[in-house]
Every structure is written in C-alpha cells, then in structure tokens.
C-alpha cells in the first residue's frame, strides 16, 4: 500500500508499485482530470503537482510518491468550489477548445505562477512545454499574463 495526499485528502492505494501515477489516479482513485495523451512525458496532458512541482504523471511510478502531496486539476479550486486565479483567467480568456489537454496546462501554469508571479513571454516559453492540438497557445499565453495581473490586484 502506498499512502499520499491527493487534493488535500489522504489516499491509500494498493496497486502494482510500478503502476504510473496517471493510471492510479484514473483507475484506482476515480480522478479523471489528468489525461493520457502520449505515455512518454511528451504532451503534458497528465501533468499534476507533486510537492508543488509540475510533473508528467504518466512516468511516475506509484512507489515513488509515498507521502507526497499530489494535486490534480480537480484540486485547483477551493473547498467551496471557488476557482483558482489561473482557472478564472482561463475562463476570462476563453482558452479551452476541446479541453482535453487543458488540465495539464492549468497545472503547468499554476506551478509557473507559484514560483514566478510575473513571468515574461520568454519565461512562459521556457516553462510551458505541453501540447495542444486545438492550438490554444495564444490564449494560454494571454491567460497566464492575466492571472499574474489578477494575483497582483
């Protein structure tokens, strides 16, 4: 059994220790926000925060997260359902199209803004490597800047 914290609540999972966290979340913990997009840490649709670090969960074995603090897209909002600033900025800029990859982008942007409250375009380019086939990149860039602005207000 591996115990960790998922979106603020304790989670105990009995599964193959080699099972990637993505599939633990989706199949054992009914947490379907993180998506399978490539399985090889290329696309970022599966990104979650592990101890605050944006990580592709498709390549993280269950056994490595004992005691860790894991946050998925479902955990970005408050207990009362208030959306995080990043989520609000995503709505304000009407970012998602199909929306499939957006959980990973939201996680990556959340981490970026946590360590760099006012990133430049170049810093956004460096930090955000996820793939979106709908082509929402221009709006993602705007939404990150907007979130930075909202956080300062």
């Amino acid at each position: 059994m591996v115990a960790f914290t998922l979106n603020g609540r304790p989670a105990d999972v009995t599964a193959d220790p080699a099972k990637p966290l993505l599939w633990v979340l989706r199949e054992d913990l009914d947490t379907l926000g993180p998506k399978y997009g490539c399985g090889v840490a290329q696309c970022g649709a599966c990104r979650v925060l592990i101890n605050g670090v944006s990580t592709p969960s498709c390549i993280v074995p269950l056994q490595s997260i004992e005691g860790a603090d894991v946050v998925t897209v479902e955990g970005l909002e408050d207990e009362d359902g208030t959306l995080s600033i990043v989520q609000q900025a995503w709505i304000a800029e009407q970012v998602p199209q199909c929306g499939f990859c957006q959980p990973g982008f939201l996680i990556a942007a959340t981490e970026l803004l946590a360590r760099n409250p006012d990133p430049t375009d170049a810093e956004i380019d460096d930090a955000i490597s996820n793939i979106c086939r709908c082509g929402t990149y221009p709006r993602i860039r705007r939404a990150i800047h907007r979130a930075a602005e909202m956080a300062r207000a």
């Binding site: 696309c43 897209v73 479902e74 009407q94 998602p96 199909c98 929306g99 793939i131 709908c134 221009p138």
Partner: protein, 773 residues
Amino acid sequence: MTRILSRRAFLLTGAAVGGTALVAGIGGVGYLATVDVDGLNGGAVDGDTAELNAFVVVHADGTVTISVPRTEMGQGIHTGLAMVVAEEMDLPFDERIRVVFPTAAHAAYSSWFNVLQVRPEEASGPVVWLARRVLGEIGFIATGASASTMSLWHPMRVAGAAARGMLVAAAAARLDVPESELRTEAAAVHHDATRRSLSYAELAQEAATLPPPDDPVLKPREDWRIVGRAQPRVDIPAKVRGAPVFGMDVVLPRMLHASIRHAPVFGAGLAIIHNERELRAMPGVRDVTVINGLHVAIVAESWWQAEEAAWRLDAEWTTTEADNESSATLSLRMKAALESESPYENIDEGDVDAALAAPDGRFVEAEYDVPHVTHACMETMNATAILREDGSAELWAPSQNRSTMSAGLHRGMDWAGVSPEEVTLNVTMNGGAFGRRSDADVIAEAAFLAARYPGRPVKVMWSREEDIGRGLYRSQAAGRIRAALGPDGLPLAYDARVATQSILNSVAGRNFPFNPGPDGDALSVEGLDKPYYAIPNRRMHSQNVPSHIPIHFWRSNGYSFNTFFAESFIDECATEAGIDPLAYRRSLLRDSPRHLAVLDRVAEMAGWSTALPPGRGRGIAIDECYRSVVAQVAEVTVSDDGEIQVDRVFCALDAGLIINPDTVIAQVEGGIIYGVTTALMSRLTIEDGAVVESNFHDFPVQRLANAPAIEVSLMDSNEGPCGVGEPGVVPVAAAVANAIHAATGRRLRSLPLAITEMIGERRTRSVLQQGDA
C-alpha cells in the same frame, strides 16, 4: 455533456436524461412545410420537464435544455447553436441553459445540408423535400465539413421561435388576453397592460400540449442581443475543472479495458502470437483475442495492465503485396500519375492548349508535393460498448458521426456473430477530432469485444503509438501547375493537375459496400481550381493513386495541399512577371469584390507595404472554402543556418453572418497553428509498408514556444453563416512558403518546409529543407 451534472451524476443518469428528454416521434408530414419536413413538431411532458420540440426542453426549475445534435470537439458548436435558440426564445444566455447531445436520432437533427449543399433557409422543392425525409429517417447526423452552423442555425432559429410561440399561446390562454398584447423577455411572458408576468417554467407544461405556430415569427436581426455578440462558451467552466466526460473518461460498473495492436502493414493480419501464455499470465489480463482475424486485443481489468501486456506482444503478421512499399515508392507512383494519359477531367474552360502553345509566350511550370500526415487528436481513439443480456447494446464514443457509430457497432458485433436488438448511442465530448472521428474503426473493435463479454462494458483505447502509426491518414499528394502569362504578366491559361489517393474512394472502401466516387473526387481537388481569379483559360485534372494506406477526412481535406500548390504557384507567376504578390492577386481578383475586400483587409493588417529587415519575409495567400473567404499573411524569420520561425500570422475572414465572434476567432487561431505545424513539421514516413513514426517525439508538433502570434479580423458580410472550423488551416502553408521565398529567395515546393529535430526533451528546432533557388 451537460454543464450542471457532475461527472458521477452523468455516469448514473446521463443516458437516462438524454433518452427521456427527447422521446418525440416523427411529427407531421406537411408537404414542403419547413417545420414539418424534419419532424420538428411534437411537444411532450415527462415529469417536471416539458419538451416543446426536438431542440427545446423547459424544466420546472427554470433551466432549459437545448439539444445540439452536433459533436462538441472544441469548435464551440454547443454554444453557438444554443445562442441561436436563446435569441429566438428571449432566454438570458447564462447558466440556466444546459446543452446536451441528444441520444435520440430525431429527423430534425439530420445533416442533410452536408449532402444536399442547400442552405435550410433556402431549401424548397420536392427533390429537397424527399432527400430531407430520407436522410432524416435514416438518422444521418454528422459533424464535419465546417457545416454544423450552416446546417442547423436556421432550423434551430425556427425551433426557438416555435417554442416561444407555444409559450406565448399558453400565456394568452392563462391570462385570457390576445397574444398580440404579450411580449417575451428574460425567460418570461409579460402582459404590460396588467403588469402580469409568467415565467417559461410556469408555462412550459401547458405550452407543450399546444400545437406549434404554423409559421413561427423569427426575431428581426436588429433586435438580436445574443447572436453576433461574444458569449462565454457553455463548456468552458467544466473544462477548467477537468470535469467533462470525454470518451476516455467513460467509467461503467464492471468495465473491462482493452488495448489493441494492429498489424504494422495496413491490410495485413495476425499470423501467430508467440507468447500468448506469457501474456495471459500477466496481472489483470483476462483475454488475448483476435479481432476479425486481424488485430490483437489484450483485455484486462485495467487499461494500464492491458497496455503493459500489449507492449510485450510477440507476434508475426501475414505478408501482403504492400510489404515493400515506402514513401519513396509511393512518391514515384504519385509523380508517375502526374504523367497520366487519361486523368479525370474536372474542369476545361477556354482553350488552355492554345495558350500554352503560343510561340512567344512566357510560361511558368512547377511541381509540388506533400507527405502523408495524421490527425494526432490529443484524445487517442477509444470507444466503450456493452451488449446487455436482453440483447440490447449501448455505445459511448467520442465520434463525429452518429451513422458511422451505428454502423461500427453493428459491424463489430457481427464479427462476433451477434446482432443487437436495440441500440443506444451516446456521443461524448471529443478530445479533438479534425475529421478523424468520423470513422468507426475503434467502435467496431469495442463492439466486437463487448459481444464477447455480454453484460460487461468494454472500453477500447488505443495507445498514442497505435493512433499515429496504425491509424488513418491525409494522403500524400503531388501537383503540377503550368501557366501562360499574357503581356500584363497575368495568367492567360492555368493548367493544374493533382495526383493523390482519393479520399472518398478510401473512405467508401472501408465503410460502404459500394464506391460512389468517380476517379477525381471533389474532396481531392478542392482548392486547386481558383475560379475567382480572372483567368480566361482554365483546366484541372486529377488522378487517383490508390495504395494500401487508409486515407481519411483530415481538417480541410484537399485544400490542405491544393491551396499550398495553387497559391505557391500564383506567387511564382508574380515573381516571373516581376509584380508584387499582393498587387498580382489584386489584379486577378478584379471581378471578385468579396475576395478582394478580404485580401485588402489582411494586407492592411499586416502592413504589407512596410519593409522588413533582412532574414525576414512576408507571404500572402487566399482561398474560398466552406463558403468562407480567407486570406492570410505570414511573417517569418529565417536565420543564416536556415532555422525558421513563423513569427506572426494575420488572417482576414469573411465567414458570413457570425454567431459567436470570439469562438470564430479561436477556431481560426487553432486552424492556423494546426496548419503551421503541418506545413513546417509534419511528415509520416512509410517503410516496409508501415508508418515509422509513433509518438510526439518523432511526429513533432508546434508548442507554445514556437507558435506564432496571430491576429484575426472578421469581415462584415451579407452572406449567411459560412464554415469556420477549417478555413484557418487552408492558406497558411502557402503563406508561409511564400514568406520564406520573400525572406530567402528560396522557393520550397515540398511539405514539410523544414526538417524538425528535438532539442532537449520537449523543444524543437525547424531548419528549412533544401529548395530550389
């Protein structure tokens, strides 16, 4: 799915809500009456829901469910068409509106526009009437060809107006006043003289028992408050919570999971599995089975377990005649087809041969080509099916086509010798589609496996490697265009030829017992004919080049290569004539004011006449597609070592009447990025009959760091709504190639324009291919 139901609630009740909310039978059959033709009539009451017609259900709590029978795959159609209904009903466009994809195949939902190419608002006559009846009866409901708004905006306007009329009639009866004294606003009917108001929720149960108005009064455009003004998308709040149910997210009790390994060479099948016992002994594995004699399915208690076993599959596949095919052999066949003595003649106007034989003429000739590419939707192909013990079947799939869902379900169950009694089809949210999800391949696989495990749902999901390497493709293509230039430098004759594998033939070959396409299918030549350019002599030929590779619809189909060919070629003609590419096109558009206005708009946006520093260049391209006119200017920077970056793309679009402007802009932005990826980066390699590429490391795509900045301008237009899902893709490859020519003097005639390599784990660098000077 719906905005209000949680994921868990959907899983328990979603199908039931969709099913009972829309149980209408086919309505009256009034000859040629717009409303009755598609069976819009027929209110019904069920508990606290009042169904006013096939599109509108009013609930006792004041919420309104709007049925949008078109797949939401990112294009915002669930918002745009709901806006049309809300406008006509005077519903505030807020969270009280829920949008569902109905499970019933009501005749009014039919995609007959896609077949007849007649706008519903202009449709009349017995032939159209009959075709609408037939396509409605068979439940042909498709999302594609940038046609959803064109196909349904008018019917849904009428539905909204009819619902409003029924609510007004119910209020008139309740208040005992004439309808003419009533007005509607904010989801209520108001009688101003007596200051009485009745909400739609209060009236709906009575309204549903009344006949709809014979001729619903449509709101005049000057009174519109929702349509034409940017509205927030109904699906986005759920999408920032990770809450929507994509096909991949369907979870059902006792569900089994399957991962598939298809034969590497298309058309081959399984010969032998060497390690079946080993695979069966792996944790969670329930079955190793062969689908229709071809593909291996690993069935397990979890998809991860199924995929772990599939990775370890040691199989041999049957040999085929295509085992030695490669990109090189296929390219040679394409080039040879350009020399065909008997191509399909699509157009022959004027006397092209005479102009091309003029002794003192100036001639331009060029050949172009593009490789196979795939869609790479972020959500890999998947479907979930169950065969219940009572013989009924149910399917959940991210699909663009309800008809192919049904066909795929029956096909797969037929492979298992089962014929389901009754079928329920659920269209989930789609994680990208781009044409890919109009095929039923994965659906048939899920149906086959479900038939082997009666009573247990089976979800089939392809790995990314299967999705890219064993899927369906946009064909490679080769084009040759010749022109004779007149004294003014403009073409006197335009002679274009394309060789490619026919899209329609390939689609039909996989899905129909007959093959409807002539040699030159309309989708394979679209974009090559340039009818709006003033060229007196024009000819267009095409040649189908069959291969073993399955070709499918791909965002913008033939335009994705023909517009690259034709608009690159027009630039070459301008170069030969020594005329600026914008001025050259302006002259060619002298009889096409709509196109000229779009071209001028984009040139102005881009500052066409201003100079750029060395190493940078601008290129322009235009086309008409899906009834829209779209022009783009791309701005590129090419470094001394050939590295290319597309810095900015400007786009002007005349898409007729715009329902939701911000969503249209988003579609164009997305189309441009999809098109830039394909133009610069995308190429599938065929070796030994199989696709070599397998995942995003070797099929790279644009990411945020190299995506261009994009500026979109929407034209005011007198046209009805036109298509917007695909036009953004169409001119961009030519615009980028023309910009490269402007920056470097090099004319690149093959896609991809660059060779892209990974630098680090998730970054890419694109360096221009060697081109002709």
